[in-house]
């Protein structure tokens, strides 16, 4: 705790140096640990973590930064998966198929964006849920029941490549969020989150900012879907459209801390690790635990683990100050 207190009270530049080097160390660990260990379940675990980081961070763009809690996130994930898989299986080079998946998701988002953004609050939430469900039902009716990689693709299946793609996406998504927050657009977007009417009154073009957040959100969600489609040897094509992906994004971002940069990262790590651990022992129980945890977070710690951590540090700083005063 003393070290953390030191961190909080020390000068800005020292802190920044510390945080940056911490991040770099984390990234290096993420790159090299799975390679060192080189066990399939470790690659898979790290893959899932990175996939879920992208999933949560992409939702964070819309819900955390712009304050639009959409329940239709699975639509973008599903479109990305569908387009990527279909184009790739049709002999398109993967990189192109991958980007197309993201682009298709953005295209869809822009189509439904303007009308959907006319809805507010609860109506926006259930409206987006409705849209995603329409997509899921349509997909499940029209797509083949199962999609399997062809023989040659299975033979050349390279798990590490998939992991590094997922890692790259997770870094890109978080990096994009970082850049957005430092960009001139950030003020407008955050203003929309805090108070839409006030933002409008001060001249912020509300719809434009929402659409920007939406396009980033859908793009990275679509890419995440593409990563998923790349990794799954065989899956149900309608599965990526399932609301489960939306709810996972919600869980991750909330547990970690909505509207923060590190929130989805922490949340994804927590979520995936706990889920994999519990899935071994108590199959149904992990959902119950997440549910209860989620409820507690909403009621007590709306800022998620990030907020809980910050509160802990504040308390320890206060204690340090008290100790210093007493010892004087």
């Amino acid at each position: 705790m003393k070290a953390m207190t030191l961190l909080q009270t020390s000068s800005g530049s020292f802190r920044r140096w510390l945080v940056s080097s911490g991040i770099i160390i984390l990234i290096l660990l993420a790159i090299f640990i799975p390679r060192q260990v080189d066990k399939q379940n470790v690659w898979n675990l790290f893959f899932l973590i990175c996939l879920h980081i992208s999933l949560g961070q992409s939702w964070n763009f819309l819900a955390g930064f712009a304050g639009q809690s959409s329940l239709g996130h699975a639509a973008f994930f599903g479109i990305g998966a569908l387009v990527t898989r279909t184009l790739w299986f049709r002999e398109m080079p993967f990189a192109l198929a991958f980007i197309s998946g993201g682009a298709a998701a953005v295209l869809f988002a822009m189509l439904i964006g303007a009308p959907t953004f006319r809805l507010r609050g609860a109506y926006f939430a259930i409206g987006t849920l409705g849209v995603a469900e329409v997509l899921r039902i349509t997909a499940s009716q029209n797509l083949p029941l199962i999609s399997t990689m062809s023989g040659p693709l299975i033979a050349t299946y390279d798990l590490p490549a998939r992991y590094y793609l997922a890692l790259g996406l997770a870094l890109a998504t978080t990096g994009a969020a970082y850049i957005l927050l430092r960009s001139p657009w950030s003020l407008g977007i955050l203003a929309v989150r805090e108070d839409e009417e006030a933002a409008q009154a001060t001249g912020v073009h509300v719809l434009r900012h929402k659409l920007l957040a939406l396009s980033l959100s859908s793009f990275f969600a679509g890419l995440a879907g593409g990563v998923f489609a790349f990794q799954q040897i065989s899956y149900y094509p309608s599965a990526p459209f399932s609301p489960v992906w939306t709810f996972d994004a919600l869980l991750i971002t909330f547990i970690g801390g909505l509207g923060t940069l590190s929130g989805p990262v922490i949340g994804a790590i927590f979520f995936v690790v706990v889920r994999e651990q519990l899935a071994v022992n108590l199959v149904e129980f992990h959902q119950v635990i997440f549910g209860i945890l989620f409820i507690l977070i909403v009621l007590v710690f709306p800022g998620g683990l990030v907020q809980a951590w910050e509160r802990l540090i504040k308390v320890s700083i206060r204690k340090e100050k008290q100790n210093v005063n007493i010892s004087k």
Binding site: S69, P115, T116, R118, L119, R120, G121, A122, Y123, A125, I126, G127, L129, G130, V131, E133, V134, I137, T138, Q141, P243, F247, L250, F254, E284, F285, Q287, V288, F290, G291, I292, L293, F294, I295, V298, L299, P302
Partner: protein, 292 residues
């Protein structure tokens, strides 16, 4: 298409619509009075269905009779949920309240769905009563007793609810709280008791719908979200301020689904409801029945 098959389709639409209506009224009550969106409403429907299944499979009680058990059980569950979880959210205001209720109820869906899965396994359960498949046959239209039972009880429940809300003091207190909760407080109404009772009442209505679902289709832990979505569609059609209007809106949805299902196939039937829902949401948010 023959007249008979059209009539048959319409009649089955009515039957299903009755279930939609009851499910939706429960959600409409909670949304209209507590101003909260309970995404776990479908899970309450599901739990109600499981209680009636349990009553049938272990005690041999006819599902319609088992309502006497199902309703009180879910009433208590509703009270418990309000006391432990929703009570903390109801004191928030406006958008924050709605957002938080969405989130909290989402957490509850995880808990309730997996609780059901743990207790009853993920398999679908169904009730096979002795008079299943038997029914009236009017003008070539088949009306199974089970379906007639659900529709008639649904109608009775709706009328009873109407009487309760408009002609008794507790009911009027609920309507008053929905209109203006501070004015209700100033009239001497204990609004926290109203909130608790209303939520429990909503859960009871959900449980009735759940019993109907088990009798009509069968029940499994994952149907929760489907029923939440159905209830949402119906209350948007009816207009979110309308509590009793949810019943005719449910009937309407049932009929529209059945008719479109006959023309474009059963699989797209669901999409029709959703598309209408989205159109109403965007173009006429006050609902189809509201006086604009």
């Amino acid at each position: 298409m023959s007249i008979e098959s059209i009539a048959q389709t319409l009649v089955f639409g009515l039957f299903v619509g009755g279930i939609y209506g009851i499910a939706a009224m429960g959600l409409a009550l909670v949304f209209g009075v507590l101003k909260m969106l309970n995404i776990a409403h479908g899970e309450l429907v599901m739990l109600g269905g499981y209680v009636s299944f349990w009553a049938f499979s272990t005690l041999g009680i006819d599902p319609f009779v088992s309502l006497a058990i199902v309703i009180p059980v879910l009433f208590v569950v509703g009270l418990a949920l309000d006391r432990t979880v929703y009570r903390h959210i109801v004191r928030l205001l406006g958008e924050e309240k709605i957002k938080n209720s969405l989130l909290v109820s989402f957490g509850l869906t995880l808990v309730l769905q997996n609780l059901a899965q743990w207790l009853f396994t993920a398999d679908e359960r169904a009730i096979q009563v002795s008079y299943a498949g038997v029914g009236l046959n009017l003008f070539g239209v088949t009306m199974p007793y089970t379906r007639l039972g659900t529709l008639s009880i649904a109608l009775v429940v709706t009328l009873a609810l109407n009487y309760f809300l408009h002609h008794t003091y507790p009911g009027k207190a609920i309507l008053a709280t929905a209109e203006d909760f501070e004015a209700a407080e100033l009239a001497g109404i204990n609004i926290h008791r109203v909130y608790m009772m209303t939520f429990a009442l909503g859960a009871s209505l959900a449980s009735i719908a759940g019993t109907f679902v088990t009798v009509t289709y069968g029940i499994s832990p994952s149907v929760g979200i489907l029923w939440t979505l159905k209830a949402l569609i119906v209350i948007v059609l009816a207009g979110t301020g309308s509590i009793l209007g949810a019943f005719p809106a449910g009937i309407l949805l049932g009929v529209v689904e059945a008719v479109s299902g006959a023309f474009i196939g059963a699989t797209y039937r669901e999409v029709v409801g959703l598309v209408i829902f989205l159109l109403v949401l965007i173009l006429r948010p006050q609902g189809l029945f509201a006086r604009s």
